[in-house]
């Protein structure tokens, strides 16, 4: 699975999708879910929580390990994906559909400045060596 071209990415393996209303959806990438393996627990931030860029704000746990998810930009959480409470494996089967939380960025330009698909792929490739 390649990384969708319409999304933005972080070097810490989050993907970011800008929605029509200006909020962003955040999930973890195909590469990240593959590294972690079968997901069994997701702890998402609560709506209303203010986040700073790169702040630890969520935890995803596979059978094997726990991993932090970082806020891609500064802003305010607007929703958490409660479907993942009972079906965390959706992150494995559909990483780019299974958003973990949504947030309203303080500054839309911060989102535009994130990595594009090619730049993110370069990060993944460099970690493989």
């Amino acid at each position: 699975m390649s990384n969708p071209g319409n999304l933005k990415y972080t070097a810490t393996h989050e993907w970011v999708k800008t929605e029509a209303d200006g909020t962003i959806s955040v999930g973890i990438t195909q590469h990240a879910q593959e590294l972690l393996g079968d997901m069994v627990f997701v702890e998402a931030p609560e709506a209303g929580r203010k986040l700073k860029a790169k702040e630890e704000c969520s935890v995803v746990e596979s059978v094997k390990a726990a991993a932090d998810v970082y806020a891609p930009v500064s802003g305010t959480v607007t929703a958490a994906n409660s479907e993942l409470d009972s079906a965390p494996e959706n992150i494995n089967s559909d990483p780019y559909g299974a958003w973990i939380f949504k947030m309203k960025p303080d500054n839309a330009a911060d989102v535009a400045a994130l990595l594009d698909a090619a730049a993110y792929q370069a990060v993944v490739d460099s970690e493989a060596h």
Partner: protein, 362 residues
């Protein structure tokens, strides 16, 4: 960069799509896709594991039984029927655990010992040192020429007989924890999953042939990830996590393997007798949402404890753990586990958590 050690099945794992990881210096398969699927296959049908990183050691010569009687915390004299196996801890004089291992009584001249991968060199050095002092006629032989494949699950033995029909007559009547030497193949009805099955020790150069033949017979490869959740559900200790050289067997859930009643002396016995343990190993099931992991702190009414092994149990679909806790903690108690910035509730349960295809915790 250090070179990882490889088993004879390394290229077979890669060909079967394994995700390989550094497992204590060995390049080993952690899974071949979904670890949870692999776990269920072993509980419900069967699967095969490459455990060639573990070390087979043969102790041969006059007085081998007397030597093991002194070397190990469990009593080799429990082995009266040829082929029978015994699980034991090997202790330092201070009562701490050098390793846990299985010994197989083959003849009065030959016991086979299987030890952990990461401890093999220090184990063999210790055994040789003790043999030199107490049984100089004995030879301790590291069988670096052998590979080991575990076929585990309710249908595992039948698959072995299908692929190695020449071993059937000698292994059909094996009891649990008993082995037969079938020439090139040493077949033991032992394992580390809580399921029925065999562990097959064989010449390294035969390993790939057996692996592919089993796979053609419908046996899927299972990674070390599922091996860990299977053994944890089965309530089996993992050396380096649940016990090591800083603790004794009585505070590691291994009291049942330590024979303190017979007059027999063994290395570590005096210390164990003089120092009754203040802690014990307990089973935990997480009541709140989350995942228990090793080294998380446990708060109890009797003081603090610590998780030694924790994970998600695919059979129970809950998080489970083994934890070292103060002696006062009892089955049925609720304790709190520190997970990141939270205190989550867990119930103390009698383990094993699951065996023979079934969860044992309601």
């Amino acid at each position: 960069m250090t070179m990882l050690k490889q088993t004879p099945l390394n290229s077979a794992h890669r060909a079967m799509g394994a995700k390989m990881v550094d497992f204590g210096g060995w390049d080993m398969p952690v899974n071949y896709g979904s670890q949870i699927d692999e776990h269920h296959k072993v509980r419900n049908d069967c699967g095969m594991f490459d455990v060639s990183h573990m070390r087979v050691v043969d102790a041969k010569g006059d007085g081998v039984r007397a030597f093991l009687r002194y070397l190990l915390a469990n009593n080799a004299d429990k082995l009266t029927v040829p082929g029978k196996a015994l699980y034991s801890a090997m202790l330092r004089p201070d009562g701490h655990v050098i390793d846990d291992l299985i010994i197989y009584f083959m003849t009065e001249q030959w016991f086979r010992i299987v030890v952990n991968a990461g401890t093999a060199e220090k184990d063999i050095a210790w055994m040789k040192q003790q043999a030199a002092a107490h049984a100089p006629k004995l030879t301790i032989i590291s069988r670096d020429d052998l590979a080991m494949v575990a076929i585990q699950g309710p249908n595992g033995r039948a698959k072995v007989w299908q692929v190695l029909p020449q071993t059937r007559a000698a292994t059909e009547g094996l009891q649990n924890f008993q082995a037969a030497d079938c020439g090139e193949y040493f077949v033991a009805r032992t394992g580390y999953t809580g399921e029925d099955g065999f562990e097959v020790m064989l010449p390294k150069e035969k390993a790939e042939e057996l692996w592919y033949a089993l796979n053609r017979a419908g046996v899927p490869p299972i990674g070390l990830g599922a091996r860990d959740t299977l053994r944890l559900e089965a309530g089996m200790n993992l050396y380096g996590q649940d016990m090591d050289e800083t603790v004794g067997p009585l505070e590691s859930g291994l009291g049942w393997t330590v024979d303190l009643k017979s007059p027999r002396d063994f290395i570590g016995k005096a210390t164990l007798v003089a120092n009754p343990p203040a802690r014990k190993l307990a089973g935990l099931v997480l009541l709140d949402r989350g995942v228990l992991r090793g080294h998380q702190k446990v708060r109890t009414a009797y003081g603090e404890g610590e998780i030694t092994s924790g994970s998600f149990s695919p059979t129970l679909e809950k998080s489970i753990a083994l934890a070292r806790v103060p002696n006062g903690v009892q089955v049925g108690d609720t304790v709190q586990v520190e997970i990141r910035d939270k205190l989550l509730n867990a119930k103390v349960v009698k383990y094993p958590f699951a065996r023979n295809g079934k969860g044992l915790i309601s």
